[in-house]
């Protein structure tokens, strides 16, 4: 990580912090009210949804347009001040965590919906627009924006693009990357480029694919064109309880094996159910595990699929199956699920949210392994997760007031990530790598894999100005070329001779 005056990221010499002079120049661009340097006001920008590892930025700048973003980037580039882009700050991986001396570039003033075109299936919005507001804007026309992270009432589209955000309904509908059609991006040299387009298959490399999920390291997104979908005709939901996660896991496997693609299928274990009950007052029974499933689509298809899934759940050992009587009751069931993270606060003074992925068929085994690791660490873990795609969200419960417990919790979280890697999964399904998990990238990927990814970063941001210190355990110097390749003697003798 880059300190003032240090030999920084990518070998670029950082002249120092975002100084008074830089602040003045930025104020000329965005107006003095939109540059924050008061220490008390900077507090909120010290981190994102993660509570620990906070770093105070030198200043925060809030541009109001693409042109202002470009001008801000040029000033930062000249002064070698790293920029940390930020949306709503709800991320859970430290993706918007400042680095010393940096300027945080907040997109929260850019929250206009620029154009709605449901007939062609898209909306063009500024990055600070709240996820749910896109759906709200087109609801009366019968459309919605599909990716639905649990934080969708507060998180921004720009942040979703950075993190390739998911959500419960991504099992059927895909992730942010499947729903972004175009983006306007300010690159680290201050140039503005348009990637993709509302028409299909824009010629050239799919740079948009690289941009989505790049965690703010490739550029600053100032406009996003997202796909709008028609709301499905019918949605059927059921909630089923099970003696343990083994039976619930078998039900999920059975449903998938029957050729059913649920819109969402979520699992909670005993501790998560207890927490959700405590937070919402739902009359859920005290059981070992529960599933919440949505099927959606045309009427007859959904009725058939839902009935079949309920049969499978019963055959797998469901204790009870509840079907909501009306939309209000359905919303309540989902509220129970979506509030589960925060609800854990009711049963533990502190907790850590993990995010890892495993092959779906290994759910029962991995949960047992997590239970064993938790026991060894002397901590409790509540599990609430997207069962359909094996995306676990273990919540490690601890008490920060007890000396050493926070460290033990962090260690346990790390062991759970290693478990995900061991089972052939991933260290993150939707929260991103950020600053928090960069070290684990070297365990999931080899050096050549990471080197290749960093070359992509170099193509966009050779100066490593954008969100340094994220994703990669070791920064790569752009323009660096390895020494000449030395062939293996066998190649010289064999293959190479032939041409």
């Amino acid at each position: 990580m880059t300190g003032p005056g240090a030999e920084g990221e990518g070998g670029v010499r950082r002249d120092g912090r975002a100084s008074q002079g830089v602040a003045r120049r930025l104020a000329e661009i965005v107006g003095p009210r939109n540059v924050i340097s008061d220490p008390a006001e900077l507090l909120v920008y010290e981190g994102d949804g993660l509570q620990h590892g906070r770093v105070r930025p030198e200043l925060v700048v809030l541009p109001g347009s693409t042109e202002e973003v470009a001008a801000v980037v040029r000033v930062a580039r000249e002064a070698n001040v790293p920029l940390v882009p930020r949306g709503s700050g709800t991320g859970l991986s430290g993706g918007a965590r400042p680095v010393p001396g940096c300027a945080v570039l907040s997109l929260s003033r850019m929250r206009r919906i620029l154009e709605l075109d449901p007939e062609n299936g898209w909306a063009r919005v500024e990055p600070g627009v709240i996820n749910l507001d896109v759906s709200r804007a087109v609801a009366t026309a019968g459309f919605y924006y599909a990716p639905d992270p649990s934080s969708q009432s507060v998180c921004s589209i720009g942040g979703n693009v950075a993190e390739n955000s998911g959500g419960a309904h991504c099992l059927k509908y895909g992730f942010t990357t499947n729903h972004v059609l175009a983006a306007r991006v300010v690159l680290s040299d201050g140039s503005v480029v348009d990637l993709g387009g509302p028409a299909a298959d824009a010629p050239g490399y799919d740079l948009l694919a690289a941009l989505v999920g790049s965690e703010g390291m490739l550029g600053v997104v100032t406009e996003v064109t997202v796909r709008l979908l028609r709301k499905p005709e019918t949605t059927r939901t059921f909630f089923a309880t099970f003696p343990s996660t083994d039976e619930a896991g078998a039900a999920v496997s059975g449903i998938i094996a029957a050729g059913i693609l649920p819109a969402a299928i979520e699992m909670m274990d005993r501790l998560a159910i207890v927490a959700a009950k405590a937070a919402t007052g739902l009359d859920w029974p005290d059981v070992g595990a529960a599933l919440l499933m949505d099927a959606d689509g045309p009427h007859a298809e959904v009725e058939h699929v839902s009935a079949r899934a309920i049969e499978i759940a019963r055959a797998a050992g469901a204790l009870e199956v509840r079907v909501p009587r009306d939309e209000a009751e359905r919303q309540l069931m989902w509220k129970g699920r979506k509030s589960a993270f925060a609800a854990v606060g009711r049963i533990s003074p502190s907790y850590l949210v993990e995010d890892g992925v495993i092959p779906r068929s290994e759910i029962a085994r991995v949960l047992r392994d997590i239970g064993r690791l938790a026991e060894e660490a002397g901590l409790r873990v509540a599990n609430v997760f997207h069962a359909g795609d094996g995306n676990l969200h273990p919540l490690v419960l601890y008490d920060a007031r007890v000396p050493g417990e926070e460290e033990r919790a962090a260690r346990l979280g790390g062991e759970i990530l290693r478990l995900c890697i061991k089972y052939g999964g991933s260290i993150t399904g939707e929260h991103g790598v950020g600053a928090e998990k960069a070290a684990y990238m070297a365990e999931q990927f080899g050096p050549d894999d990471l080197d290749t990814m960093q070359r992509v970063r170099c193509a966009f941001d050779g100066a490593a100005l954008m969100n340094p210190g994220k994703v990669f355990p070791t920064p790569r110097l752009c323009g660096e070329r390895p020494g000449p390749y030395r062939p293996h003697p066998a190649e010289v003798a064999g293959l190479a001779e032939r041409w």
Partner: protein
């Protein structure tokens, strides 16, 4: 050890003959061959089934052709996790034959499945009418193994559907036409084979009627898996919509579509496949083939622009994917100047809606007059930098991609 041989006529790429042809039989052999070629400074084109070799511009130089046909194995199939890892040279049809007994498929139906390979389909972004429901290859790929120009093997993505660790190399490589690296292995998410399938076809439609009926279908919240409109000899269109899923759902959706527009005809059994076979034939027609992209609401305007192109061709064929805003035009080149002018005019029409017209095949006479890609994209400079990062000496499919990359 890779099989290395003298080139044959079949190794030519858009009329250019390589000095050598190499056919690695494993990832290790592919990497070894790539390192040797790197040391030689050889320019390389990767070839799978050769079904999309005419897409893009001819290579500026061609020393070696690397065939993936011996890389044709399933690496891993986890039916309960609905994923498959497969070597790049396996054909789509062979992959589907492996998956079918497990009640699964790759939900991608590009042309020529018996020849088109997994790697080629990814590199060329090839797709068929099921893109309506399941998306293109970028929506189905979850992992990739790449051999870089320098012979380094790199992986991106993984074996789980949900995964945001690291930059998205798998999707970035989609449509890159072998210019960023050799796609050696691909991991896909799979979908269940549907229990039931039916097609409803409507004949004699104008472009406006195609658009209106498609829109009415979607507004009625019906969810066709595939939608294609095929131009008939009289210039009218035959619109085919295929529904897939469980039997009661397919029945209800086709009933409702027929209630929406009584001109429709439900096709079942052997007849069900007929419009789709016709679709395949039309998409393969001619020595000139082009793909146009447009905003779905501007379908009539796009059809007029593309019809002006097919009118210059012998036995012109036109296929629309109205929900996606895509048209495929094809035919036999008669007068290159006339076709070239019509293409330029069509591009001008499509441009304001961010649309495009790309040549998927063209004889040299037409290539001399028009760029296969059309206008350079706004982010061309970043694309060039990406190319330089991954292939600094410009040896992989040089000149094949947009803007002469």
């Amino acid at each position: 050890m890779s099989a290395v041989r003298a080139p044959a006529d079949g190794d030519a790429v858009l009329g250019m003959r390589p000095r050598v042809a190499v056919e690695p039989g494993s990832l290790d052999e592919a990497a070894e061959a790539m390192r040797a070629l790197a040391r030689d400074g050889a320019s390389i084109v990767f070839v799978g089934g050769g079904t999309d070799l005419e897409l893009g511009a001819p290579p500026r130089r061609l020393d070696a052709v690397l065939h993936t046909r011996r890389l044709d194995r399933i690496r891993e199939h986890a039916p309960s996790d609905q994923i498959v890892a497969v070597e790049a040279g396996m054909t789509i049809a062979a992959l589907q034959r492996h998956l079918a007994p497990h009640g699964q498929r790759l939900a991608l139906d590009p042309p020529h499945p018996e020849r088109a390979t997994v790697g080629g389909v990814l590199a060329a972004n090839a797709f068929g009418p099921r893109r309506t429901r399941h998306g293109a290859v970028r929506d189905l790929v979850i992992g990739i193994t790449l051999v870089r120009a320098d012979g380094v093997v790199a992986r991106g993505g993984g074996k789980v559907v949900k995964n945001v660790a690291g930059f998205d190399l798998p999707r970035l490589l989609c449509g890159s036409l072998g210019s960023l690296g050799l796609v050696a292995e691909v991991v896909f998410r799979l979908h269940p084979l549907p229990e039931a399938c039916a097609t409803v076809a409507f004949g004699g439609l104008s472009p406006a009627e195609v658009r209106a009926l498609t829109r009415a279908t979607l507004d009625a919240r019906l969810e066709p898996a595939a939608v294609a409109a095929l131009q008939e000899g009289d210039g009218r269109f035959r619109l085919a919509m295929r529904f897939e899923g469980f039997a009661p759902g397919v029945r209800e959706q086709t009933d409702r579509l027929l209630a929406l527009d009584a001109r429709g005809e439900r096709l079942a059994g052997a007849d069900e496949a007929a419009p789709w076979a016709r679709h395949d034939a039309l998409r393969a027609a001619g020595d000139v083939r082009a793909k146009a992209a447009f905003r779905p609401a501007a379908l009539e305007e796009a059809v007029r622009a593309v019809e002006a192109v097919t009118a210059t061709l012998g036995a012109g064929a036109l296929v629309l994917y109205p929900t996606l805003g895509i048209a495929f035009a094809g035919g036999r080149l008669v007068r290159a100047d006339a076709t070239g002018s019509a293409i330029a005019a069509a591009r001008a029409t499509l441009r304001p809606g961010n649309g495009s017209l790309v040549l998927a095949a063209a004889p040299a006479a037409l290539r001399d007059l028009v760029d296969p890609w059309g206008d350079p994209p706004p982010a061309l400079e970043v694309m060039r930098r990406l190319k330089r990062e991954l292939d600094p000496d410009g040896r992989l499919a040089p000149g094949r991609v947009v803007g002469g990359i």
